[in-house]
Symmetry: D3
Subunit: 248 residues, 6 copies
């Protein structure tokens, strides 16, 4: 028999919760450590639909990337996701920034999906790594990203060829200057602001923004496989969630 | 049919939630505004026993003085009172500092219990009021307090007679200097620290400390009566809670 | 003969600089108040290309939306836009958040471009206004936006019809909750983050994100016309700048 | 001949002033280092009566636990204890939190008075230590405390037997959670608040509160003996002070 | 019979203590309100010599400009001026920034000594006023200052004639920019820093620095006369203090 | 061929920029690292006259002690020194607090000029050092200072002989207490405030204040010589600047 605590402990090895960013909120956020677990669902986010799906599928535990509670709460009323989560009897664990930076974590899965090689950490910021790809034109690199990540690509065209690529899954647009300092031709990330694109152009580096969801969802299969290998008697399923953003 | 919202609205008239202290947390802290209410329990505190009693008595709502959530929370796990409260399906409203200072609120009930007359507010601090009693020796005043509040009395004996009495239910020991400035012979409160007794002696004012619980519990019957008069079809009960502190 | 000061003073009537946000930096940022002005260029941003274009066109003054200096600087070295700007001899005025909120300013031009009627301010936030459009399906509204603003549209599909539209040009994704409180069916803005789309879905409001550049550039023609009417002897030109972001 | 400086230096060995809490104020607070000392008085507090007694007894130096000056002062007028102290010509040394935590200091004297064995420090907080006593029922432990410390005892009855006891002389009620984490059955201290008793009950640990004065006064005889052994030609006397708090 | 309180109250009319700067410390700093006063000494500063002179002259009260206590104190030991002051039995009142800005206060006495006319306050800073003098060359103005204030003059020579003079007794060098904005040709003050002289030159305004002591001591005779007129039965004397700074 | 970068690098060895005080602003403040340098001017300050002199002399680089930009700027308009500096095409490097504390830096040059021996650093403050001189009366020491530094001397006469001298070029009056703790008879510095002289007298130490300019200008010749030795093909000249302060 396995408990929520057992899975928590395994995740703590995969991506130690103590390595989460100070502003983050990870670990067991709702539920009971001692509960027996037979079925687990993995999801990037917690939405009302995700909780419904958890209940319908009779799962005991939901493992999410983004935390169910972010700002500390002063009440738990019936119109909140938190109330719905607690009342469901399901437990919720969040593995967020600790999973972003872990070996084989979110950021590494992004690099793998795109085919980057010779991955190295960037000393100044744990969320940024740098890798290499066979030299390509800007257009060729955009095509590669669209194919591998199944996404739209926003970028500030500099016309430069791309060989050295810094990358940060999720929201990493503010890291372009650091990426440039590390010698990268480009920064691959999920979200960037207009002024970050502007400043990147002035600094002669290209930001390729491929979607917060699309640069993070790559971790789900990888994590599911690890968990299934460790807990053979537990059933692991993926949530049916799609990217909340439509682009037309 | 009455709902949680109806009772919330009535309490908001009795003691407007917006008058709570900035550091306080009052109002509907757990549960649903739209739930129908047939049975309500009143309690000074929320403890594990109080939640059990609420469940056993099948009450729909618990009204407490002290808030169920004080420090904002970042998780709701099974070893917390909050988890137990949310899972119980019962709603919880807290009327704390707003009830302390309301007309016929906690502090006024304390004055009434002891027999103070000519009650006047103190401009500098809403938690302090001042009243009068027929002049008594220190010993006579102690006897009166023990009889009316059924409590032990701690005080710094000054030998002064007592006629003008400032009062603050709960923890009000730090108000002795303001009480002195208002011309009071004594400060009646629920808790004071050793150094407050010392300083009060230097300032020639007597602090009579009668217990946090004993100076606040006087409000329960008064509030219950008001609610019953307004909501004739709802059953209001008092929790069976005793003071958590034993004195030997 | 007109000077930089004369144009500054006219802009100060159109959009008073003193109404800029406290964190903003507007007004005459580089150059000389007393210089004679014969030719003026208007631009949303200041980039290296914009300064080159100003020099080539022999303009005396550049009026920009986004400020040339944002973070206060401790040095002005040759590798900065600021050095290039000062050395060019051209003057630079920024009209940023004051123009966003002015009558006929950036936000109003956005509403006009899309065809919103009955525009009303939102008391809690000067950057947000609310208007109405003949009721449309989500798909119809997306088509309208694409046509009028010549942009891609990102949105969290809720399936709701759209009639009441809150709007904020530029980066306004964080205003969705306030928009919802004002009764809006949708928030029209230029940029929003993934988590803002997620939270908006939970709150049953649709964010339509049409591009920072595309929701702001609508002001340029309007401002140019106003200036030309006032200063008949000055030549006003628009910069040749395109949106720095390419989408594929 | 011995001076104030000599006694200061000896106290600095017994309980180094540099180990005082950052918010504390210890050392020579009033008077002169170079004055000759023939007679010294020891007292827990400084009150008007203590200064009178010092003058009547013609003592040269008063050693107190609680500091004569706590909040820094901006004036020294005739209605203050400080003015009276300076005008008396007597010197005043305070050994407060440094004495609390010293070997054979206040906290150790409390443990000794109650008969605790196997005393160990608690790493997380210098004011808390933990010791053991032959296992007793709650009632037996209360009786022991009343006998050894000559005090009233306030406690939140849990019904648990007592064997492992964390202890902190003076005001230590806020340390119950740390005491629990260290495996203690009980926290022995001088003062605790109502809400601390409540929370301790929820955490299944008993706070025994025996009086701020009673848990600290145990140090006076011990300190007097040490000083007399070191300074044979000086007369050391104890102040005649009683606990300022009466309990009825 | 007059008391310290009576003189305090008169000074509070001449220069209300409540108008002192927030960082200042004025009023009765040492001694007793109720003490009878027969002899009073006036002094700009409190030094060891001033206290000796007060004792030798058997004065009951010393009125000073600069406060005896500036930074709040945590001890009063024999090597401090404060200990000496308290032990002397003399009372000490400070009238500092409130006297600087009062009508006929320090700053006004400076203007009178130099012969400025048409004195007007400066709205932005209560410590600065502005007046006029018959137009003079820089050299003529320096000669006037040396004669009237009996001082050395430091100034950044601009060659400008002087007619409109802003002035601030004591340390006012940082006010040169405000003085310039008010249309002054010069700033007359007691102390200025090297970088303030430098910046003043760039701003084309002359700072004339005549000594902190010399620009303030002008108030003593004026204040002494006011006090003597009000309290005919008290003897008022001036301290024998000279400027602590020698210039060679 | 030498560039601005080459001279910067040499200065970084002479007085490492990274040792500047946190509030300071040193290094290349205006201009271009890659510019060729044929002629360099050295100056203590940057004033309008200094920039004019640089332009007239066709220098490529100005090295100053005090930084051209101190408070970070939000605009660069034609009425500022910064605008004039950038427009001049000249580069500006500041070596300020790093040069103050460097070996053979400003402070060391002051000691050398006055003839102090056995120079030792003071651990608590890098800006203060202490040295010795053959014992002199106060008057003799004043004469020495006037002769060696060609200055007026302000001092609080204590009558003490002078042998051990703490020193701090520029503004160091606030260091008198530390100087006293180090056993110095006197503090030699460039500027001190009236209240610092007063407090120094109470602490029985003499402050000799010889002028900010006069105690710093001693470094210019020394630095010029070092640079000329290193860069034989560059012409180094001194600015014609005088002390901005006149004393009469």
């Amino acid at each position: 028999m396995s408990t929520v605590k057992d899975i928590y402990s395994f995740l703590d090895v995969v991506a130690p919760f103590s390595t989460s960013a100070p502003w983050d909120n990870t670990g067991l956020l709702v539920g009971s450590e001692t509960k027996e677990v037979k079925k687990v669902m993995l999801s990037l986010d917690v939405t009302s639909e995700v909780i419904n799906e958890a209940i319908e599928n009779k799962v005991d535990l939901v493992i999410t990337h983004h935390p169910l509670i972010f700002e500390p709460v002063k009440s738990v009323t019936a119109d909140t996701l938190l109330y719905k989560a607690v009342s469901s009897g399901v437990s919720f664990i969040s593995s967020h920034t600790c999973l972003d930076i872990a070996n084989d974590g979110v950021n590494d899965c992004l690099a793998k999906a795109v085919g980057l090689k010779n991955i190295k950490p960037v000393e100044e910021d744990v969320f940024l790594k740098i890798g290499e790809i066979e030299e390509k034109t800007e257009d060729e690199f955009v095509s590669l990203l669209k194919e591998k990540l199944n996404c739209n690509v926003l970028y500030n065209s500099t016309g430069n060829n791309i060989k050295s690529v810094a990358f940060c899954s999720g929201s990493g647009g503010d890291l372009f200057a650091l990426a440039k300092d590390c010698g990268a031709d480009a920064l691959l990330t999920g979200e960037a602001k207009y002024h970050e694109f502007l400043d990147a152009s002035f600094n002669n580096i290209t930001i390729f923004s491929c979607g917060h969801f699309e640069t993070e969802v790559v971790v789900i299969d990888c994590l599911k496989e690890k968990l299934q290998n460790e807990f053979k008697n537990i059933e692991f399923i993926k949530v049916n969630q799609k990217n909340v953003i439509t682009c037309k």
